[in-house]
Symmetry: C2
Subunit: 378 residues, 2 copies
């Protein structure tokens, strides 16, 4: 057991019979054994990747074994390539080979890729195994471990094969983030900022004060993770299957997905959170250009993202010089264009985002022309 007295937060995700708790704090993953016992499991199969497994699987296996649980480890290669049919099959067959029964647990130990993959495998092995998420990146702790989206990629697009499947428990151990490369931590932080921008201006102001502390690993980190999880949980509880409000979580993401696509998902050039940083800045500048949002708010958003080292301009992506049509095409793959109009998440100000249907493609084009032609100015 840890000697650290953890600063604890917990978030209840209210989804009826699919409700679950997110425990947040330094060292909470060391309770995996006791928590799995409390859930009635006799065996736990950990799904992880080679990098995360080498860093973090040992103490969790020890915790499970100390609680008298049979354990098994299914390890995949690191990276987005694991969200494939081949690796999904390997994980599912590995879980069956581990002889886990319906009462047992799958434990996803890793970032968003492992969570999406292991959650999907849990959803379809024996028509549904319970699973526990132990997210090991800031991005996974504040975003992908909340909300139940699981899946793999298809040649037709990302995340096109999957399910909505909720975990039984999330252990968001903020100590695991200490080993995170600075670039990954910053990238996850873009999603933290997003929750302030959607509907919580006070939290955005708190981020302006405390962002550096969140990244440095002070007690601000637990608060940021808890506020983020609570914000996402509230939206997901209103709209589990993304038929309405949940779209607000896509603030910045229409731009971000297009940029990731154009950068061919090359993590050396652009990781998801960096794309979200640029996307958030673009969404606010676009809102300002449409006279929806004060230009000062757009500038303030970019300033804060830049203060922690996040990019806010398309030109910041190494080796990417898209033209407007290429960018619009990439956006159209993410969104359905209906009669020359798109649905976007726009903002009337910081903390005042809304779903804007009927955004004219011509307005998007004019905005992007400016952005691409003016890389240096705000």
């Amino acid at each position: 057991m840890s000697t650290i007295e953890p600063r604890r937060e917990s978030v209840h995700v209210a989804l009826g019979e699919r409700s679950y708790e997110i425990l947040i704090g330094r060292g909470v993953s060391q309770e995996a054994g006791a928590r799995a016992r409390a859930l009635g499991a006799r065996a736990v199969a950990i799904v992880t990747d080679e990098n995360v497994g080498a860093l973090h699987a040992g103490p969790i296996l020890a915790s499970l074994e100390a609680a008298g649980l049979r354990t098994d480890l299914v390890t995949v290669s690191p990276g987005e390539g694991a969200k494939s049919w081949r690796v999904l099959e390997d994980v599912c067959e590995g879980l069956l080979a581990a002889r886990i029964e319906r009462r047992d647990l799958v434990l996803a130990l890793g970032g968003g890729v492992v969570g999406d993959l292991a959650g999907f495998a849990a959803a379809i092995v024996r028509r549904g195994m319970r699973f526990v998420q132990v997210p090991t990146s800031l991005l996974a702790q504040v975003d992908s471990s909340v909300g139940g989206k699981t899946g793999i990629n298809s040649p037709h697009g990302k995340n096109l094969i999957g399910t909505f499947y909720q975990p039984s428990l999330v252990l968001a151990d903020t100590a695991l983030l200490d080993t995170l490369p600075a670039r990954e931590a910053r990238a996850g932080y873009a999603e933290v900022v997003k929750y302030g921008l959607i509907d919580d201006p006070a939290f955005f102001a708190w981020c302006e004060e405390n962002g550096a502390q969140v990244l440095a690993g002070g007690p601000a980190r637990e608060h940021a993770v808890a506020v983020s999880c609570r914000a996402k949980a509230a939206i997901v509880a209103r709209d589990e299957r993304e038929e309405g409000d949940r779209a607000l979580l896509n603030l910045g993401h229409t731009f971000a997905h297009a940029l990731e696509r154009l950068a061919r998902y090359d993590a050396a050039r652009l990781v998801h959170g960096e794309a979200v940083g640029i996307g958030l800045a673009l969404a606010f500048r676009f809102s300002a250009r449409l006279n929806l949002c004060p230009p000062d708010d757009a500038a303030r958003v970019a300033r804060h993202l830049e203060s922690v080292g996040l990019p806010t301009r398309i030109a910041a992506i190494p080796g990417l010089a898209p033209d407007v049509d290429g960018l619009l095409d990439a956006m159209a793959q993410d969104k359905k264009v209906v009669a020359g109009a798109l649905t976007f998440i726009l903002a009337r100000g910081i903390g005042a985002s809304f779903i804007a249907t009927g955004v004219a493609v011509e307005d998007v084009r004019a905005f992007l022309l400016d952005e691409l032609g003016a890389p240096a100015s705000a």
Copy 2:
């Protein structure tokens, strides 16, 4: 449109927000177009196999196109081999290539294999597409199209990868059964009889009177399909995820699955419904041997199954001469043996089945020794 005035039945499957209707009658599949429109679809992708597609896809495509729907056809090879990872991937990618959106429909046209496969694909493409079942075998109409079990097989066992996923509508067109080989029709009929044996002695008596008519395609067929669907729907509504009563549907199936496994799922020797016929007879003879059920009831069950040409003895399976240990091993793969005891579905008489926990393995062994040694007598 058909000139036949169909004899119609409908069954409501009450599963809260996942409730749906089963329409039963000659010609109901010709309403596919109008029904898909009523569900708000703009496009429908049919999943079928080469044999069924050649026989039945044409009129359904015509119905969909007459209703102004865009259509696509995803065809797989016939047979249980289609319930594999490779074919699942092909079907999912085929559905994505067909550009069906969330509001559109997947239509499963075929027997149990196609229904299980297409239902699973529908469950995981875009995190869940609505789907319509058009079952084309008696077995699929009375069993696999009700209850939401979908999935594929694993090297570790049958149906180990899948989900519970309910269709939006089932069109059980009894005219499609006219092209069914007699052996397949008989095999499906074993599941019809099962519903009488579980808890409806009057329906079993009706079967004794009308079984030949059900197989011949008279109006008794619609009644048999409707009663069967209603019986299964009632049990599924009580226990969607098989945590209790739904196990009653496994009457005869512990024996049946073991026999299918020993026959290596070789349809030339034994199809599922034939195995169920033998399994039902065994379950009743075993119940009689344990003094739970009158021997006359066991004899009556075997007599009716034999009257329609179904096998009721292990020795009836060509080329299969298992020893007791081989049979017990095959059964143990289906059921967990806890402290020398098995859970079985047994009967106190026709229409009086129950879940029997703690059945001693030694009692099963003694019964099977008798069965294997006495192939000819009742």
